[in-house]
């Protein structure tokens, strides 16, 4: 792993550290957010119904589950994957890792757009934690574009 860092030559060829950190921070926020949604999905029945969570009409809607898997859990896995890849890159500086990030963040972004559409036009209720996830996935998408730009700069 260290070899790849050396073979990349000058440090300027590395992904900017700031970008790497933003990927870590934003995916961590997304991870916490979707964790919360997933926890409340699985424990909702036992915890009772609460107004302070205010999210139930969205998170209990028919759209919140695909083939028995709650969307929040898919979101959790998505953010965890981005977080893990960003940490892995931070550690290894292996450029191959970076090629996974832009496609993933694009899928995440498109998925979020669909979910925002559902909330506004179909369920007609806004779940603030789901909107936070839409924001984090949008930021990740933009960061993904920067990663892509960086990768392009490597190949003349």
């Amino acid at each position: 792993m260290k070899n790849s860092a050396h073979s990349s030559g000058k440090p300027s060829k590395l992904l900017p550290k700031k970008l790497n950190w933003w990927l870590i921070i934003i995916s961590f926020i997304g991870f916490l957010d979707t964790s919360y949604l997933t926890i409340s999905h699985y424990t909702g029945l036992d915890l009772g119904c609460s107004i302070t969570k205010g999210c139930e009409s969205v998170t209990t809607s028919a759209y919140s589950v695909i083939y028995g898997i709650p969307l929040s859990l898919l979101g959790l896995l998505y953010y965890f994957t981005i977080l893990f890849l960003s940490l892995l890159y931070y550690d290894t500086k292996n450029r191959k890792i970076l090629s996974f990030i832009p496609p993933l963040t694009t899928v995440g972004f498109l998925f979020s757009l669909w979910l925002v559409y559902l909330q506004i036009f179909v369920i007609e209720a806004i779940c603030q934690y789901c909107m936070l996830s839409a924001i984090t996935s949008t930021i990740l998408f933009i960061l993904g574009l920067f990663v892509l730009k960086y990768k392009k700069s490597l190949t003349p």
Partner: protein
């Protein structure tokens, strides 16, 4: 990363933050943590009660007909009343979570309207039993369902419909809701045993709490 111990430290801290964050969320989202507790309005004779009317041990439940957790605790409450009914007075108060349960208010009003014809508890049982049917319905469909239950109970249907739409019935539900807010209720079901908010984790714990209160009063 320069060396292995530094890398190890990096991954250790990362794992700690990720797992720690996840566990903290589990802890924070449990209902027992926090929540302001106010004072419970005293039980009055005109409330919906079961058990021993003269008892001074009150078990008050704030409940929402559309809340799945309330429906799932319903058999437990029933068992409690069967076992301790001689010693306690169980009081049902409405706490419809209107912002998230579209038909909860209407369900509470239907139960109140049935209560005016002496069938509150029968309606209460039917509404909970059929929760999965009417919870997904639109407002007018749900109203039809509730009327169906009224017919099933042999109520005077015109009277029932008038009452369900009346201001006094709406006010009765709202008064319960407001008293719940004053008592610091923010989720359903919430139980108060002699004015103290209780949060039994299991049926056994529920029984023990009530038995202890009865023994202390004896």
């Amino acid at each position: 990363m320069q060396n292995d111990s530094k890398r190890l430290f990096f991954w250790f801290v990362s794992a700690l933050v990720v797992v720690g964050g996840f566990l903290a969320l589990i802890f924070l989202s449990s209902p027992s943590s926090g929540g302001p507790t106010g004072t419970l309005d005293p039980v009055t004779p005109d409330e919906w009660w079961r058990g021993n009317e003269k008892s001074t041990i009150y078990l008050v439940e704030y409940s929402d007909f559309q809340c799945p957790a309330c429906a799932s605790r319903e058999p437990i409450v029933e068992d409690i009343i069967q076992e301790f009914g001689e010693h306690i007075k169980f009081v049902y108060r409405h706490f419809p979570l209107r912002s998230i349960h579209a038909n909860a208010q209407a369900a509470a009003e239907a139960a109140e309207a049935a209560g005016l014809q002496g069938k509150f508890w029968e309606m209460h049982d039917l509404i909970f039993k059929n929760q999965t049917t009417w919870e997904k319905q639109t407002g007018s469909e749900a109203a039809t369902s509730f009327s169906g239950y009224a017919l099933e109970l042999g109520l005077d249907i015109d009277q029932f419909l008038d009452d369900a739409a009346s201001n006094s019935v709406e006010k009765a539900v709202d008064e319960d809701y407001d008293s719940g807010t004053r008592a610091g209720v923010n989720s359903t079901p919430t139980f108060f045993l002699n004015g103290e908010k209780i949060n039994p984790g299991s049926y056994e714990e529920f029984r023990t709490l009530i038995r202890q209160t009865i023994e202390a009063a004896a």
